[in-house]
Symmetry: C2
Subunit: 253 residues, 2 copies
Amino acid sequence: MNEPLSAGVETLAPLYKAVKRSLTRSLMRGEWRPGAALPSEARLAQRFDVSIGTLRKAVDELVAERVLVRQQGRGTFVATHGANRYLFHFFHVVPRDGEKTLPMLETLAFARGTATADEARRLGMPVGARVIRIRNLLRIAGDPVIVDDIVLSRGRFPDLTERIFRERDSTIYHLYQTRYGINVVRAVERLRATLADRAVAKLLGVAAGAPLLEINRIALTYRDQPVEWRRSLVDTARHEYLSDLGKGAETPA
Amino acid sequence: MNEPLSAGVETLAPLYKAVKRSLTRSLMRGEWRPGAALPSEARLAQRFDVSIGTLRKAVDELVAERVLVRQQGRGTFVATHGANRYLFHFFHVVPRDGEKTLPMLETLAFARGTATADEARRLGMPVGARVIRIRNLLRIAGDPVIVDDIVLSRGRFPDLTERIFRERDSTIYHLYQTRYGINVVRAVERLRATLADRAVAKLLGVAAGAPLLEINRIALTYRDQPVEWRRSLVDTARHEYLSDLGKGAETPA
DNA sequence: AAGTGGTCTAGACCACCAT
DNA sequence: TGGTGGTCTAGACCACTTA
């Protein structure tokens, strides 16, 4: 496993970038499972034959991207997709007054089909590729607020069945991560305003033609490979989409 | 100017945090003007009596927050509000097909008044405080796309007149920065869907009752002090709000 | 007590920019 | 050529966790 850093096609100029790349490759290979501890920084530095400072700089960036999690005194771990990570980084709908909470998810439909031109483009597959389409209703504090339509490539999720999807015990991304080894690392969302059609209006308990917030999300894994396309329709009568910008990282003070 | 780091009310545990705090204080005081170069890292390290590594770690965070800008071989500078920074970090409306471009701004109204309860809460002022209200129409590639309603405290912008506002030669935040020494560093946006009223519909060239994306933005300066409240109404027929999430920093590869 | 990450230091060398 | 930031190193010490 001691692959020399100069092995890759081309070594990135700064050494710590090469180390980061090598770490990412190991993560993609699944060398360390989600939730598992990496070797200590001292050991990793040895393995890559770099100083601890350089190793730390590589890990720093992966921590900033939330791929790894450091815990002082315990170790460095592969980030897992649980309720917390979902709430903090992948779910931006908040009550207009009150605290953000985890939505309850009810699966309304699960169907197989072939990719439309739109779906193919967004997921980087050929038109006609085999896909799965899932519709969910999300309730916040009991109220129906969001209708989600998810599209997945059957190539990436070969044996995914409605039963497996329904009977997962945590978030959807946790299912992707644990069962399919697909680690959602980033998401790009495009928002617009639209009007509720009759079916969605009924689900959300609003009038047909009510204004809804439409979120088109592409979820990405390592190297920005698209994994999931999700269209969310949100009733923003009592909820909002929160976008906090201009912060590089946490940096509280 | 050699204020000891232990001077502040309480010194933050890590040394580099104290250095960062001290740098921020200097920026708030205007010790270095926007666009000006800071002393070299070696000199700053001397001044704070810390190692270069520690000094760099403090500057790293301010660079990540886009308060400072490093240029190899030239120096470290106080970030200025120009077209680029605005486009990249404070303007998220993009054409659905095509490149993001700088909008053209037309000022429709400029009026003085006193703060409503809503305005007072959002800007952290007492109800009835004196405010300025400005309405602008933004065109992208010639088409009217956004109506902006801006609310400012007259306390922060004492001598701001319609003429000064109209005759500025760059972005609005550049005006705040250069004329009032107020550096917008961060923004929090809350989005919802709404319907166009008659006045806005006419401005945007859509039907009354057309769906619009409503963006409520609070612009903040150092220490998260609110500076500006802006409500934008966006016609998302041919444009979208882009939200890129999950990246800690740039980290291209 | 042993092992982990977090901070801090001091110094070398490189890449880039101005002159 | 001299000054700037960018990278890399080696090592000391601290804070925290676990056993």
